[in-house]
Amino acid sequence: MSLQVENLKVYYQTLRGDVKALDGATFTIEDGEIMGLAGESGCGKSTLSNSLILLKPPMRFVGGRVELDNEELPIWDMEKMNNFRFKKISTIPQYAMNAMNPIRKIGKMVSEILKSKKVDFKSKLPELKRRLDLVELSHDVLNMYPLELSGGMKQRMVMVLSTLMNPSLLMADEVTSALDVSTQKAVAKMLVGFRDREFVKNLMVISHDISILYQIADNIMIMYAGKLAEKAPTSVIINSPRHPYTKLLISSLPDIGVKYSQKKLTGIPGKPPLLLDPPTGCRFRERCPVAFQKCLNEEPPFMEIKKGHFIACWKEFEKNA
């Protein structure tokens, strides 16, 4: 039982009021599990990952509870969180390409970061080198400036740095989206490798690209409009999804590899609701082909309908019942 998230609510403060970007998420990630997180852009998946590690304005912690290794994360407290960041919980950000200070030699930067976390660089150096080899980076990168590295190299460097302290939770946000297909595969493999070598206990991989998740994730969680729609083992999600949204999502995939975010979901008429004041009931109902009265008034809970298979849809509940 490594990561437990209970009814996590994180809103965005805007001038017009709160945008309910993450409106009550409850899920767990088992040790050693790689969980893929998918959904249209703006569905709140980045909000979810960010809120776990760096929750700062305009994000606002509204409620919920997060436990990592049976220890509550004070995610609402920027300062307290610093004791967990990097050491217990870490991230490979979307912008990994520019994540490093352009005017610092990489080695120096790493040592400075470690020092700031009261970690001795010397003692970490051998491990660092080992991991560089692992991601096929020469040790010279430590004497280079970021701009001397290619995009892929930077990405890998960041991966190494982010996981250097063997965090128990690592979030990889769109790590592959900026790369070409071949590098994507390599990076994906490395993530798995990291998990296998237990550099990281468990992984949350966020991606537009279900095909990537398909390759590496054990479970996939689908989000829609700030809510969890479905979570199930990868094969299940791909082959026999239950939530109508997931179905449409998968079916609308022409073939593996196309990033669905780019072509609007033609299969699904309409677009997600404004999260400023979302409608009551199921947030998908307006686009849902099977929506019925109940969806209008009551919000479907996120329930486990089969071992390890959670969904939030009245229709399916009825079927089950």
Binding site: Y12, Q13, T14, L15, V19, A21, G42, T47, P272, L276
Partner: protein, 285 residues
Amino acid sequence: MPQPKKKNEMLYFMLRNAKLRIGVAVLLIFVVLALVGPLLTKYQPRDYVSPGVEPPSSEFWFGTTSFGEDVFTQFVYGLRATFIVGLIGGGLGTLIGILIGFIAGYRGGIVDEILNMFTNIVLVIPSLVVLLIIAAYLEVRGFLFESIFIGFFAWPWAARAIRAQTFSLRSREFVDLARLSGMKPLKIIIKEIAPNMMSYLLLVYILQFGGAILTAATLDFIGLGPTNSVSLGLMMNNAVIYGALILGMWWWFIPPGLAITAIVGALYVTNVGLDEVFNPKLREM
């Protein structure tokens, strides 16, 4: 997260941005003063309306010079001049900057190399000194003239900035698209690139405006301003030459400098305000 409508959002931020509000307010005050001021006074700036050296009074709101000119009259006419210089000088500077910046940024390659080199050259030469030299040899100097010259030497940094912006825009999809659809470069610049830089160009113009005002004031102060009219810089020049400090005639040299400071300061603040409005990154929640 879905964005609220762009347009009115912009307006909303504008109205809400304190810097912007202050800046614009101050500017408005002076613009109005420059427009209606001359109507409030019955004198001409160079008229001799009193024995001289009179402190501010109900008769002469800002007092009189040691020659008995009405300082208020000179002040309001000077304001006009100041704004004119800003408009024309700043305008010209921006225009040239835009022209060179766009061409260099869009065309790139050798054209860019040359233009950029040229820009840097003009950039290094201290423009005011050149203006000094030129002005020093002119027997009769006018406002238009001064403004134009200032404009001619003010453009480089604008060109530089705009060039950089154009570069970044040039490689955007919608520009590529336009190019693929066989649009003429000029058309692309006008139709595709310029609109996306409007906010930026506005900022550049504001800064040019302020710059022109300061340059003009400096020239005038050195005594190389327009030979046949008043300006705030000229007022300060006269005040210093004719012993306003020693004679304690603060009303002669305080208003013009204060006005310039206020106007230029307001311009800068407005600029930052707009910047915050245009770049959400800088907005404080």
